[in-house]
Structure formats: structure tokens, C-alpha cells
Symmetry: C2
Subunit: 308 residues, 2 copies
């Protein structure tokens, strides 16, 4: 398939915002049902889980699950728990990445980080429990066939673990911090694993729930890998240009930590140019899909132009 799809329309920013707001509300309501109440024994861990999970957040991975799934015809009701599982997994990674032994961050999603608020031991346990709950949520989703659930668990695990997933990327990133010879190629490998793998997996998961074809899965995967890369480039750009108030986390940390970033490697202007190229590449991948891809295109634009 190399002919362009009949519908290359892009959802308007207003349409994307309205859709994102609806998904955010649905996902947060479902997460509230999935996570034990704060008073449930032991309260320390449940308070910590809820602190990190219910901080104001974009819910970008759930959004990608639902937008991708709905593109190929899945109903929201069959996508919601898979969407939540990705947010649970992502939140575990934030809680652990912020720990003093890791990135040592004190501000996240506009709040003190989990270990600052609840102590390190509780933060480690909260992250551990969030990861567990992510897999449990998919395994117990009775709206989906068992064979589908098994594929989703395996896909989420491969995106989260080693050697190709998030933990591998984070370990590589930590190892690269003390070096000053990180190439652009190596930087992209780190980001592909650290951020891109989970984002691509979210888009694939939605398409899987919808019963998309192999060709469609391949196209959506290519789109999402670009989207993950785009997300990281704009993240690096925002770290240089945005305020803590807008970001909800501490800006300028990358530069102080002398981390390899796109602006550091290429300069601001070239990094912005690279972001536009990657955006175009993501949209080109969608040209191979026959279903209406307006929302996926709009989401890519949202990432390109995000201000936090």
C-alpha cells in the first residue's frame, strides 16, 4: 500500500482538545474505580499511589490507546481499561525515575514528588504496586477475549522491560549521563526505548483491541514511534524554554545535569527543525491507513506545538 488514504484530514486543535478532555475524564473515573481507596489498609501506599496518579496530567498514553483503537472501530468501553493500564505503568515509571538514586526530582505534575511527600520506601512500594496493577487491569478486563488480553499483557511487558523497553532506556540514559560522547544516534536509541517503546505500544494496543490488520498495526506502530520521538524532542525543547509553572516539573535540569538532549546536541533551531521533520514522518505513516486518521494527525500536531 503506497497510495495515500482518502482521508488525510487533521482534527482541529479544538476538536483534539475536546476529545482529549473527554478521554481524560473517563480515564480518571475508571482509575478511581481500579485503585483501592486511600483508607484501604495499608493507607500509606494507597495515599502515595493516589497522590502520584491523580495529579493533574495529560493522560497522553491513554489518549493514544483510545484514539488509535477508535480509528479502527473499537468502542470506548472496550478500550478504557487498556488505556488505564498504560497510565498505571507510566505513573510507576515516573515515581521510580524521580527517586533520589535515579533522577532525584522534587517536582512532578505540579506537586512534590512521591518520595518527597511520602518517603522513599513508600514511593518504591507505590511504584511497584502501580506496575502490578497495570498488568492485573488488563488480565481482569472481561470485555476482551482472553487471547487478546494475553497479547496486550505481553506487549505492555515488552515495552516496559528489557532489553527493548523503558527500563532498558532508563538504564542506558543513566549510564550515558557521566559521558560526554553521546552521539545523536545513541540519543535516539535511548529515547526510543525510554519513551518511544511505551508510546508505540499504547498505539498498537488500541489497534489490537480493535482487531486491526497486520498492515494497519505496522503503520500505526511507525506513526507512534515517530510520535514518541517527537514527544521527546519537544520535551527537551521545553526543558530549555518553559517555566516550572507551565511544566509542572523542574525545568533546566537537563542542562545542569549535562545530559545529552536535542538542543544540546544540535542547537535550538535545528532541534525545532527536527521536530517538524518527525511530525511529517508520523503523518506520512498514517497515509497508509484507510480508516479516518484525523484524530491521530491532530494528536501529532498537539505534541509538535505543546507548551507543557
Amino acid at each position: 500500500m503506497t497510495t495515500p488514504s482518502s482521508d488525510a484530514r487533521e482534527a482541529t486543535p479544538a476538536e483534539v482538545r475536546a476529545y482529549a478532555e473527554r478521554v481524560r475524564a473517563d480515564v480518571e473515573a475508571e482509575l478511581d474505580r481500579l485503585v483501592p481507596v486511600e483508607s484501604a489498609d495499608p493507607p500509606s501506599v494507597h495515599a502515595a499511589i493516589r497522590w502520584s496518579l491523580f495529579a493533574p496530567a495529560k493522560r497522553f498514553r491513554p489518549l493514544l490507546v483510545t484514539a488509535s483503537g477508535e480509528t479502527f472501530g473499537a468502542t470506548p468501553g472496550r478500550l478504557i481499561r487498556t488505556a488505564c493500564a498504560f497510565e498505571l505503568l507510566h505513573t510507576y515509571s515516573l515515581v521510580h525515575d524521580d527517586l533520589p538514586a535515579m533522577d532525584d526530582d522534587e517536582l512532578r505534575r505540579g506537586r512534590p514528588t512521591c518520595h518527597v511527600k511520602f518517603g522513599e520506601a513508600t514511593a518504591i512500594l507505590a511504584g511497584d504496586a502501580l506496575q502490578t496493577l497495570a498488568f492485573q487491569t488488563i488480565a481482569e478486563d472481561e470485555t476482551l477475549d482472553a487471547s487478546l488480553r494475553v497479547r496486550l499483557v505481553a506487549g505492555l511487558a515488552r515495552a516496559a522491560g528489557t532489553p527493548e523497553g523503558m527500563v532498558a532506556g532508563q538504564a542506558h540514559d543513566l549510564a550515558a549521563e557521566t559521558r560526554d560522547d553521546v552521539s545523536g544516534e545513541e540519543l535516539e536509541l535511548i529515547h526510543r526505548r525510554k519513551t518511544g517503546a511505551l508510546i508505540a505500544s499504547a498505539a498498537r494496543a488500541g489497534a489490537l483491541v480493535a482487531g486491526a490488520s497486520g498492515e494497519e498495526l505496522k503503520a500505526v506502530n511507525a506513526y507512534a514511534l515517530d510520535l514518541g520521538l517527537l514527544f521527546q524532542i519537544t520535551d527537551d525543547l521545553l526543558d530549555v524554554t518553559a517555566s516550572a509553572f507551565a511544566l509542572g516539573k523542574t525545568p533546566g535540569k537537563d542542562a545542569r545535569a549535562q545530559k545529552a538532549t536535542y538542543p544540546a546536541l544540535y542547537g535550538l533551531a535545528a532541534a525545532r527543525l527536527r521536530a517538524h521533520e518527525v511530525f511529517e514522518s508520523a503523518c506520512a505513516a498514517l497515509d497508509l491507513i484507510d480508516s479516518p486518521t484525523a484524530m491521530l494527525r491532530g494528536l501529532a500536531r498537539l505534541v509538535l506545538e505543546r507548551e507543557k
Copy 2:
């Protein structure tokens, strides 16, 4: 069913040792296939995973999966990956529990703990990846029906997480450390979650793979809950009486940390008596099972009389 089973024979210590040795060798060979090689990128995490996973260990949870599964007629080939998943999950919990912010242990399975050898960040990531791999291993076990894999993932998750599983128990345990009013009842609740839940889940998982009936699952669950409690009582006793050389970890830590333990609460003699009562209770639960339970009985005896 209240009539005793026709076979209440107990496997001899020699039979149990031979069986345990065979399972240990099979499980370690399979774990070696499941975990990326040490040179796989990023090497730090894979070296840390292998350091903690392949230290000399009893492989007690895998042993329980296979002994329970074989009791109800499952073949070893269908049990091996579920057995490995429990060991991966258990090892993640050891790596995280040993961290400075948690129990702050320097010796485990006869070796320096993961964070002492590889640093805290790598130990956190190694534990995270081990948990992920546990769920992945079950999800990708093609010898089992998808519907069975889904039940196994859900069961493992409930035993590992909150509010009823291992993380809940560990959080409760940490919260109780600073208090001097922990009752015997509360101590048993902590242990049931911290150790018992995963051990009971291992025994249930084996029976599930074998297609055991609801009554059989109930009986094996009661047996395994007692076994978990027995394991903890003898663990507490060994912390008082054994040497670091025999234990492979630092003894006397509980007393120094003024932790609530069975010997501390009841005295040595009463704790030993309680261990015998719990052993008898575990065996009584097996009386309700018609399949030959000799190995499960022998395993309970092994725990009662263990010296490390």
C-alpha cells in the same frame, strides 16, 4: 469432603531433597533462557538481574508450583514457566526490600545485595524489570491456553500487589517497625500478606495449570496459607538461632531492629510449638484431597525442620 484421603503418606526427606534438586536445576536452566544475557544492552541491568536471580537459592515458590501441579496431574513441561514467573517476582521483591530506604540489607543469598554490588539506581531498575518479566513469562507461555494464562497473571498480580498481597504486607511491616504494640494477630496479618500471599498463589497456580477442581483449589490454598505462615515462623526462629554462614543473609537483624517476630512476641519455646501446630494444620488441609499428597506433606516437613 471431610473423609481423609486414601494416601496421607509423607515423602521422605531424601525423596523431597531429590525432587527439590531436580526442580531447582530445571528452573534455573529455564530462567537462564528467559533472562537476556549479561552482555545484552544495557549490560548493567542484565548483570544485576542475573547476580540476584542466580545466587544460590532454594527456589521454594517454583517448587511449590510444580509439586502442587504434579499432585493434580500436570506435566513438568506445562508448569516450568509459571514456576519461573514466581521466582522472578520473588527475586524482584528481595532486590527492592534490601534497598537502603527499605530493610537496608547488605547480604542476601550469600552474596552482597544487588544495590551494594551495582548501585541503588541499577538495583531499582533490575527489580522493576524482574517484575515485568514475571508477567511477560506467563503471558507468553504457549503451552497454556490463553484463558489459563489470564487467570495466572491475575492471580500473581493479586498476590504481589495491594490491598491483599506482598506490597501491602511490606508497607504494613515498615509502618509497624516504629511501633511497640504489634499484636500476634497483626503480626500474622502482615506475614500472610508479605510472604503467605505469594506462597499460596504459587500452590494455587500449579493446581490451576493442572485443571484442579474448586474444592481442590480451596484445599491446596488452605495448605499453602499455613505453609506460608510456617515459613515465616521458622524464618523468625532462624534469625535468632542460625549463623550468617548458614543463612546467607545477616542474622539477628530483627532483634536489633526491634521488629515484631514470633520469638519476640511469644518466646522461643512457644514459637516452636506454634510452628508444629501450623504444620499439622497444613497437613490436615491436604486430607481433603484425593490425589496423592506425599510430596506436599514432605515439603511442609522440610519447612518445619529447615536449617536455613
